[in-house]
């Protein structure tokens, strides 16, 4: 464990692993999606019947598979850090590539879902539902895209701190999905 020059100057944030700024981001994202999901459930209270019908139009299985895709991708990202910590640069790059590839699979499945929703079955659905579905999952998917870019960058400039910080972002995206999926797809 290499100490950082000003390890203690982050105050209470110093004891968190990786760059403390990433934890500020994690907390912020948790709050944003948390408030968004609260909005979703409250909007649901206003029109439960419309929401149930709208939720039934989602492809729940696709969502569930995507959960597993992301969790597996998270494992690969964690293994990349583990390899890098043992100074195994090349191995860590392969793991990052694997993590990124699963991210791409996630996006492909997501794209099919969106295509289906936009082309075939958005008629007659609750409007708040549609707005929130696209906003929340879309905002999340944008994070996946961003995450891919970050994984690429830290694979390239691959010191341990970079890889830790980059994969922390990736795990956060994963974390958000784990909270998002049950509420939007399953809670009815």
């Amino acid at each position: 464990m290499q100490g950082h020059k000003n390890a203690e100057s982050w105050g209470p944030l110093s004891s968190l692993p990786g760059n403390p700024m990433i934890w500020i981001l994690i907390l912020s994202e948790l709050m944003v999606f948390g408030v968004g999901l609260m909005g979703f459930v409250i909007a649901r209270d206003i029109d439960p019947v419309g929401f149930a019908k709208s939720q039934d139009s989602l492809n729940r299985l696709a969502g569930a598979i995507n959960t597993m895709v992301l969790i597996t991708s998270g494992l690969f990202a964690a293994l990349a850090v583990e390899a890098r910590a043992r100074d195994n640069v090349q191995t860590s790059r392969w793991w990052l590539l694997a993590a990124g590839s699963f991210g791409v699979i996630f996006l492909i499945i997501k794209a099919f879902e969106y295509r289906d929703k936009i082309l075939h079955n958005s008629a007659g659905l609750n409007e708040n539902f549609l707005t929130l579905y696209f906003l929340l999952t879309g905002f999340h998917a944008a994070h996946v895209v961003m995450g891919l870019v970050i994984l690429f960058i830290v694979g390239w400039k691959n010191n341990l701190e970079n890889i830790e910080t980059g994969t922390a972002f990736w795990h956060m995206v994963d974390l958000i999905w784990v909270l998002l999926f049950p509420v939007i797809y399953l809670l009815r």
Binding site: N6, S9, W10, G11, L13, P20, M21, I24, L25, S28, M31, V32, V35, G36, G39, E127, T131, L132, F134, L135
Partner: protein
């Protein structure tokens, strides 16, 4: 004062305080017009006073920021300002522009003229030539400050300040764009108005606060730097998409109601972080700095900003609430306390801190200065509360019961009298402040 060129700040602060006096006096006149509607109406109508009030506010706050930058950048960069001459030239340009705007508003001699006529959009009424002058002044300023920083020591404080001030200039460019479509017009208008006060100005505020904490407490620079990076990240994360809270009813797509509500609800966080930061630093670093008044203003600023921007902002930021409260006195209550807490107070904190050095003396007139703090903070808080009550009643009568605007206004008279009263207390406080900082000084022992 370690560097000769910091002296420039003195003139910026002086010009700022002159405009401050005018701004609040005009405010008091408007407060009186609210209860005696025909007062001066033949001479200068209310809407002209309103333009003077808000424009003077914005311009003096910017002058204060420029002065603060000219004062603190040399100490951070450890060298003199690149060109003091340019800095004075910039000030003259701004003063000429301000006078031009005032004359245009009051005499309205060029109504409708593309270059010389006033442009009508709230806060951005300045005629085109004044806007261009402001942009030139901003470019001169940015050149001057950026070169100073680039050739000197680079610190987090100056980085954040520079980022903020570049942002101020960049987003002001949207004031030049005025599409015919009213929805688009409003959309870009908020790029200036919202992204200024809830984005880039917050960075300027955080940088000045950090500088004051460095000087007023014994806390290490490293710790302070971490705090301001965190605050800046939070401010931008919430504030940029928070712009959506102005896109509810102007013809923009419905999803803005969700984006605006969610992100702007979190805008309270960076303001809370500034309170925690300032109090922790003063509490832990409790070096007994002789300039007690500056400490008071700095701490007071974070608290009042937290209430004015954070709490009062949150109060009407969710779309279902804003549906009713939009454009009522609640907005005015929030606008006053937020501007006063965040930007007026932080400017006054900086001025209180810097003036003794600029005038080569010990901290002086501390008691009057601190009294002026309590007069202004008290006056403004009371004014905010009265306007909030007025706003709640107005919302109920006008938006829920559907009574018409003027008949509702007549029922709010008592609140407008109280606003006038608290406004006068505020004006007294402001004049006392100017006396305390620019008046007779104690000679250095």
């Amino acid at each position: 004062m370690k560097y000769q060129s910091q002296k420039v700040a003195f003139w910026y602060f002086g010009a700022a305080m002159a405009l401050f006096a005018i701004q609040v006096l005009v405010g008091a006149i408007m407060g009186y017009i609210y209860v005696a509607p025909n007062f001066m109406s033949e001479l200068i109508p209310f809407n002209i006073f309103r333009m003077l009030h808000t424009n003077a506010l914005i311009v003096w706050l910017l002058l204060g920021f420029f002065g603060a930058a000219y004062y603190l950048i040399p100490e951070e960069a450890e060298r003199d300002i690149e060109s003091p001459m340019l800095a004075y030239g910039q000030l003259i340009l701004l003063v000429v522009g301000t006078l031009g705007a005032v004359l245009t508003y009051v005499f309205n001699f060029a109504e409708g003229n593309v270059v010389f006529g006033q442009q009508g959009r709230e806060f951005l009424e300045q005629p085109l030539w004044v806007k261009l002058g402001i942009i030139v002044a901003a470019l001169v300023f940015l050149y001057n400050i950026t070169m100073t920083v680039l050739k000197g020591r680079k610190t987090a404080v100056s980085n954040v300040l520079l980022l903020g001030l570049w942002g101020v200039a960049l987003f002001f460019l949207f004031s030049l764009y005025n599409p015919g479509n009213l929805s688009l017009d409003k959309m870009y208008w908020w790029y200036v108005v919202h992204i200024w006060v809830e984005g880039v100005w917050e960075l300027v505020m955080a940088a000045i606060l950090a500088f004051l904490m460095l000087k007023l407490t014994g806390i290490d620079r490293e710790i302070i730097e971490k705090w301001i990076y965190a605050i800046v990240a939070l401010a931008l994360f919430t504030g940029l998409l928070g712009t959506g809270h102005h896109y509810y009813w102007i013809g923009t797509p419905g999803y803005w109601q969700w984006i605006g509500s969610v992100f702007s609800a979190l805008e309270i966080v960076p303001f809370l972080a500034m309170v925690v930061f300032a109090f922790m630093m003063v509490w832990k670093g409790g070096r007994d700095h002789p300039n007690k008044a500056a400490v008071l203003w700095a701490l007071g600023s974070t608290v009042l900003a937290f209430f004015g921007a954070g709490v009062w902002g949150f109060m009407h930021t969710l779309a279902p609430v804003n549906f009713y409260s939009h454009g009522t006195q609640i907005t005015a209550a929030h606008g006053h306390l937020a501007f006063f807490g965040a930007y007026v107070s932080m400017n006054l904190a900086m001025i209180t801190y810097a003036m003794p050095y600029l005038r080569k003396s010990e901290p002086y007139n501390q008691i009057s200065n601190m009294i002026s703090f309590w007069l202004m903070a008290g006056g403004m808080s009371f004014m905010t509360i009265t306007l909030t009550f007025a706003g709640i009643i107005q919302t109920h009568l006008q938006r829920v019961n559907g009574e018409d605007f003027m008949s509702v206004q007549e029922q709010l008279g008592v609140f407008y009298w109280m606003r006038l009263g608290s406004g006068i207390v505020f004006v007294i406080g402001a004049l006392l402040f100017i006396y305390a900082t620019f008046g007779p000084k104690k000679v250095r022992a």
